[in-house]
């Protein structure tokens, strides 16, 4: 059972890593003027909810399977994702708003956030991998 949880988490984590990389690539495209703000934001906003769901599932899964350490590790990031999603002003087009992304260094902070998430997911990936192997051996 334990191994199934971690195999699922591992797959989910892979998806999140890919998503983070996609965010970084798209944002840096915008930074370099390869795409315009409008299309960049509409691309990224599409993936905000899947990312949120993906991460929340893992977090909840860890809570259910009583892996406290991993749960607490995931909790701040999951909370941040949800908070960010909820706090979008009603007039904005999503978490990434094309009219504001070039203002007040938003692009940079989005970039930084995506980088941090990538690092976090990589860390989680190895943790899940280790736990999965451990669980498989124990089984």
């Amino acid at each position: 059972m334990e191994s199934v949880v971690f195999i699922f988490s591992l797959i989910d984590c892979c998806a999140l890593i890919f998503l983070s990389v996609y965010f970084i690539i798209t944002l840096s495209d915008l930074e370099c003027d390869y795409i315009n703000a409008r299309s960049c934001c509409s691309k990224l906003n599409k993936w905000v909810v899947p990312e949120l769901i993906g991460h929340t599932i893992v977090t909840v899964l860890m809570l259910i399977s009583l892996h406290w350490f991993i749960f607490l590790l995931n909790l701040p990031v999951a909370t941040w994702n949800i908070y960010r999603f909820i706090m979008v002003p009603s007039g904005n087009l999503g978490v990434f708003d094309p009219t504001e992304i070039h203002n007040r260094g938003q692009l940079k902070s989005h970039m930084k956030e995506a980088m941090i998430k990538l690092g976090f997911h990589l860390l989680c990936f190895f943790m899940y991998l280790y736990s999965m192997i451990l669980a498989l051996i124990n089984d």
Binding site: D29, L30, E31, D33, Y34, I35, N36, A37, R38, S39, S42, P89, S90, G91, N92, L93, P98, T99, H102, N103, R104, G105, L107
Partner: protein, 1182 residues
């Protein structure tokens, strides 16, 4: 602003004329480090202006204020004599009159609920039958005509009078006189250059831009050659098809066009059942069913250019390939709107290689990347200039020591000797002591100067100063740029630029040249601040790259000499306009297209704005900027959307009602936007009929969203301007809004909510419009809350403008009605630029991180402006990313690329040059308090929307507290107990207090949410001059105007009364005062005002007989009346806003409007000025 002859030289020379006499008389207090000499000490803006005009030759020394009126008059005169035809109008009114009655009956007799039911049965019923079901009894008479109407030809309808007018068909190709210009070949650019750059021609060009009837001058030629290349590539295949179509149509003449028209109208399509077609002027002559399937749109511009195919084969090649390239790139990045990326490439990003290969030799490899920019440049000014740098840096270490001098500043003996010894070294820092003089704010009560506050002059040597950009177009909050971000942080002052790039200029050098010289790496346009290394190479002043001087640039058309590139007009003027070549276009320049979207719901009709709008349009129809391709269209909406078919050849305008607001479509896409000149009579008919057409409407709903969607669909093929007139909260269809204002919270001191938009509909729409080069201008005329916060989005992001008339009513509120009328006159006739982009570049090391204004930031430094108008201002915030150690000058350049209303692609370039300083004192010395306050206001608007209003207010107060405490801490020897500010910042607390009491940011005073939002929109989009008047109005006493210090403008004597403090203590009962708030003038009359003033100026025997609502001064033949009127009209002429005059008697209820602007006084919710100072002092000491 004023550097006129009449002012005594001293007061004109020193900014802040209040202290000028004293300061100029005594030995100049030289302090503060790198001060070298006082030779030029009383050097102010006014003087500067004169120098500027004298040296550069083409600037006649006319004060700025004088000119707009002059221009305007001429304009008016031209038009009235030429093409204004009043008789025609009156004829039409009478002819329309009787039949109008019928229409109204029809209209009111056809209740709308039936139509909305029709929406449910969409698709099920054929459109013809649906028409019958949805049209009740009153239509039955009409319906008998249906069978015949589909096939009825155009000629068969209409009454004899009007059909006679249309009897002579206009051949469509004949209406494009532009075409007849012979296209000059690109290979011989000099032919162009001579004429365009010689002195007289400069003026002439300006005229061509403004006066349509003189358009047949030179500059058109370059662009004439372009279009063919584009036709074949830029339009997609289907478009090309239509172009072909059009071509053949042009050849065959107007007959084909007419028959085509008839066919399209006749098509019956069942997919969109809910289209009705009501001929509104006559009952049931033509009620053809139209459909959305009609696709053949007429592209006039394409048709034009096809007529000259083979004349310029050489030029088609590059443009074709460039376009291909651009299209490719956009498709690989899967951009939603390819055009967008392409514009990037045009203005900035990509270098058009095809062109450069031909025009300039191979690029030299880059030499030193970061050498000092100084050693090289300006062969003519080198001696003084080169010396300046070392001396400045040499003086730095001694800087702190000089601060001790501040206190003994009055007795500073050795200054003169010191300055004379340093005099040979440099010309810099001439005004520094004055701007750094410490001012004790709590003791000095009268800090407001008596003459208008002028922009500080950057501390450059005189040659550079002469060349620098006018502060009216381009201002920086710090005229001395700190060297590092750390220094900037220490100063606690905002760093940013305030721009007014498209303002109406009286002299503007226009340059036509086949190659526009730009830096190869950063794409900066060549400007006065570049340095020429030798005859053949110039160094970019922004990125320091060394570029080649093109062969063509070596020749100077001004002096007709060869080998003097530094004397070219581009290098002699910091504000120039280039006529762009085809490299700067992606498609043929678009025609001027205007679409008016009018609210005709009960609310709107009741307010009666339609009459004013239609009347203004009728009057200004011939003055709308544009050429022969200009197109115009109308949409009205209540709970349905009504279109107007104005196709040439119809006897009367045709109204087409679309009641399916959930899926709105265009009934006849090609005949709704029509050529202004071809269909002028129909348009006049419509405008005459519109105000009365809806007079009995009972429809209270407003389907603004669907109307906007329809407008967007209509405009998207060409782009242009949509003007929306809205009178209430949109209540139907997409984009409907709900009331969010709680009237009880209006005067709350705590939280002000709902400053942001409620829905993203309007933002999305604006972005869509912006992508299609369409701007949406909003006129909101409402009596109750209409959620401007949401509605404003449609203009904010599409680069439109916003006008708001609270509690508008044509008869109950004549002041607003007059304001609308005047605003419309300006709005309709002012210059306009289409499909514009603006890029702001700055010296390497500086970076722009936030933009303020109405536009869409498309990429990091590129602003997309679908339309640009002369009244739009912009602001940007900057940070210093890398320290500017290797340079002592920084430059900023704005380039605005736009299509003029005449269909020319033009680039207006402004360049500003500022010195870099290393000491904190210098940073303070160069602070421009007005610019800083305006930038802070912009930032505060952002803060109040993203965070909260109280946050924004705190931030404003903190800005003052931080900067003043930072200043005091630098000057450690100053008394800590008193509040000291440098002279340059002495008005800072006052202005911030005024800002806190401004409608946008005030709390505690009852402020309607829409008023507040509107004030915020104004702050974001007004240029500095107008914004300052809004924040801190000017108060003058006008009952004792004298000719002392008067100036002469156009043979008129304009008295110059001193500015008064904005405090009730200055108001006396015996006086009359004028307050200039930018968009409105208040005249306040005291109870015991001098009877002679009332009699001579107002034309009433005594105070009691003066009426409450007076909006105009009578033209009396007395000296004091003449003075008052000339002063007021002089104030008016200095701005394009056409302020409304409002007379306020001391006991009238409107008094509060006046008194709320007296910002130095205490109100129940806010500090007085003195209390505010004490508050700041307290905060500093904390």
């Amino acid at each position: 602003m004023s550097a006129p002859a009449g002012i005594p030289p001293r007061s004109a020379a020193v900014p802040g004329g209040a202290r000028a006499p004293a300061a100029a008389a005594r030995p100049p207090p030289c302090q503060n480090g790198p001060v070298q000499n006082q030779m030029q000490f009383p050097f102010g803006y006014g003087l500067h202006l004169e120098n500027y005009s004298a040296s550069s030759g083409h600037y006649p020394p006319v004060p700025h204020e004088a000119v707009p009126s002059q221009l305007n008059n001429q304009y008016v005169a031209d038009y009235h004599s030429a093409c204004y035809s009043i008789p025609v109008q009156s004829v039409m009114t009478t002819s329309v009159g009787p039949s109008m009655l019928n229409t109204q009956q029809l209209y009111s007799g056809a209740p709308h609920p039936v139509e909305s039911a029709g929406g449910l049965t969409q698709g099920a019923i054929s459109s013809a039958s649906h028409l019958h079901t949805s049209v009740p009894q009153s239509y039955s008479a009409v319906s008998s005509h249906y069978s015949s109407s589909t096939s009825s030809s155009v000629a068969s309808q209409g009454f004899p009078l009007s059909s006679g007018r249309y009897a002579m068909p206009t051949v469509s190709s004949a209406v494009y006189p532009n075409l007849s210009y012979p296209s000059m070949s690109v290979g011989s650019p000099y032919g162009q250059v001579f004429t365009s750059q010689s002195l007289p021609a400069v003026g002439q060009f300006e005229e061509t831009n403004t006066f349509p009837d003189q358009s047949s001058t030179v500059p058109r030629t370059l662009q004439q050659q372009v279009p063919l290349g584009y036709n074949s590539t830029s339009w997609s295949t289907s478009d090309f098809q239509s172009a072909q179509d059009n071509f053949s149509r042009n050849n065959t003449g107007s007959l084909a066009k007419a028959s085509n028209q008839i066919n399209t109208v006749g098509i019956v399509d069942s997919s969109h059942p809910v289209s009705q077609n009501v001929q509104f002027t006559k009952p049931g002559v033509e009620t053809s069913v139209v459909s959305s399937a009609v696709t053949s749109s007429i592209r006039t511009p394409v048709g034009d250019h096809l007529t000259e195919p083979a004349s310029v084969p050489s030029n088609t090649q590059p443009s074709e390939s460039l376009l291909q390239e651009a299209i490719d790139s956009s498709s690989t990045t899967s951009s939603a709107s390819p055009v967008i990326n392409n514009y990037d490439a045009l203005e900035g990003g990509g270098y058009p290689e095809t062109n450069s290969a031909a025009s300039s030799p191979a690029p030299t490899p880059q030499t030193s990347r970061t050498p000092k920019p100084f050693g090289y440049g300006y062969p003519t000014l080198q001696p003084g200039y080169q010396n300046a740098t070392p001396s400045t840096s040499a003086m730095q270490p001694s800087n702190p020591g000089h601060h001790s001098g501040f206190q003994q500043y009055p007795q500073y003996p050795g200054v003169n000797q010191l300055s004379s010894t340093l005099g040979g070294l440099s010309l810099q820092h001439s005004q520094q002591p004055e701007s750094l003089r410490p001012v004790n704010l709590t003791q000095d009560r009268n800090i407001l100067p008596v003459s208008p506050v002028l922009a500080p002059v950057p501390n450059l040597n005189s040659d550079l100063r002469k060349l620098n950009c006018s502060p009216d177009s381009f201002r920086c909050t710090l005229t001395n740029i700190p060297q590092t971000q750390a220094l900037l942080n220490k100063a606690k002052l905002p760093l940013g630029l305030l721009l007014h790039p498209f303002r109406d200029l009286t002299q503007l050098p226009v340059i036509t040249s086949s190659t526009i010289v730009r830096c190869r790496s950063c794409r900066t346009y060549i400007n006065p601040f570049v340095s020429f290394i030798d005859q053949r190479r110039w160094k970019c002043n922004l990125c320091y790259r060394v570029n080649d001087v093109p062969e063509e640039f070596m020749y100077n058309p001004l002096t007709r000499s060869y080998g003097e590139p530094h004397k070219r007009p581009e290098v002699q003027n910091s504000t120039v306009e280039f006529i762009a070549s085809s490299d700067y276009m992606l498609r043929p320049p678009q025609p001027a297209v205007y679409l008016f979207v009018l609210d005709v719901s009960h609310n709107a009709v009741e307010a009666g704005y339609l009459t004013i709008v239609c009347q203004s349009l009728l009057e200004n129809l011939d003055k709308l900027p544009g050429d022969s391709r200009t197109r115009i269209g109308f949409i009205t909406f209540d709970s349905t959307v009504q279109f107007y078919n104005l196709q040439e050849g119809l006897s009367q305008p045709q109204m087409l009602i679309v009641s399916d607001i959930d899926d709105v479509f265009l009934p006849t896409p090609d005949s709704l936007l029509v050529n202004l000149h071809e269909s002028k009579e129909l348009i006049k008919d419509l405008l005459n009929a519109l105000p009365t057409m809806f007079i009995n409407t009972r429809e209270t709903h407003s389907a603004l969203g669907p109307a906007l969607q329809a407008a967007f669909k209509l405009m998207s093929p060409t782009g242009g301007r949509i003007s929306v007139f809205q009178s209430q909260l949109p209540s139907l269809g997409a984009g409907l809004l709900h009331s969010r204002e709680d009237p009880n919270q209006r005067s709350s001191t705590k939280v002000v909510q709902h400053l942001g938009p409620a829905t993203d509909f309007y933002k999305k729409l604006a972005l869509d419009c912006s992508g299609q080069q369409t701007a949406v201008d909003l006129f909101l005329l409402s009596s109750q809350y209409s959620d401007l916060a949401s509605l404003a989005c449609m203009s904010k992001y599409s680069a439109g403008c916003i006008y708001y008339y609270p509690s508008f009513h044509h008869s109950h509120n004549p002041a607003q009605a007059e304001k609308l009328q005047k605003d419309l006159k300006r709005y309709l006739t002012r210059k306009i630029g289409f499909e514009a982009v603006m890029r702001i570049r700055c010296t390497k090391g500086l970076s722009i991180h936030t933009f303020h204004g109405n536009f869409f930031v498309r990429s990091t430094d590129l602003l997309s402006l679908a339309n640009v108008n002369p009244d739009a201002g912009f602001a940007v915030q900057m940070s210093i990313e890398e320290s500017l150690t290797d340079t002592s000058l920084v430059c900023f350049q704005t380039a605005l690329l736009y299509t003029s209303s005449k269909g020319e692609r033009r680039i207006r370039v402004h360049t500003l040059c500022l010195p870099v300083v290393t000491s904190l004192a210098d940073v303070y010395a160069g602070a421009d308090v007005q610019a800083a306050v305006c930038l802070l206001a912009n930032m505060a608007v952002d803060r109040s929307v993203s965070s909260s209003l109280s946050d924004a207010r705190d931030a404003l107060v903190n800005a003052v507290v931080d900067s003043l405490s930072a200043y005091i801490s630098t000057a450690s020897n100053l008394q800590q107990s008193s509040l000291i500010a440098p002279n340059s910042l002495r008005l800072f607390p006052l202005y911030v207090l005024a800002l806190l009491k401004q409608k946008a940011f005030r709390t505690g005073t009852s402020t309607r949410l829409d008023d507040r939002i509107y004030a915020m929109c104004q702050i974001k989009s007004q240029p500095l001059v107008h914004l300052m008047k809004m924040i801190h109005p000017s108060l003058y006493r006008i009952d004792r105007l004298t000719n002392e210090g008067a100036i002469h403008v156009n043979d008129r004597v304009v008295p110059q009364p001193p500015l008064q403090k904005l405090s009730a203590e200055k108001l006396t009962r015996e006086g009359a005062f004028l307050m200039d708030c930018g968009s409105i003038f208040y005249i306040w009359i005291g109870k015991s005002c001098d009877n002679s003033f009332i009699k001579d100026v107002l034309g009433y025997p005594n105070y009691a007989s003066v009426p409450q609502k007076l909006t105009q001064l009578p033209e009396l033949d007395t000296l004091s009346s003449e003075r008052a009127r000339s002063f007021i009209s002089w104030l008016r002429d200095s701005r394009p806003l056409n302020p409304v005059l409002q007379l306020i008697k001391d006991e009238s209820p409107a008094k509060t409007d006046f008194f709320q602007h007296l910002v130095e006084d205490r109100t129940e919710a806010a500090f007085s000025y003195y209390e505010f100072l004490l508050h700041i002092q307290q905060q500093i000491c904390k």
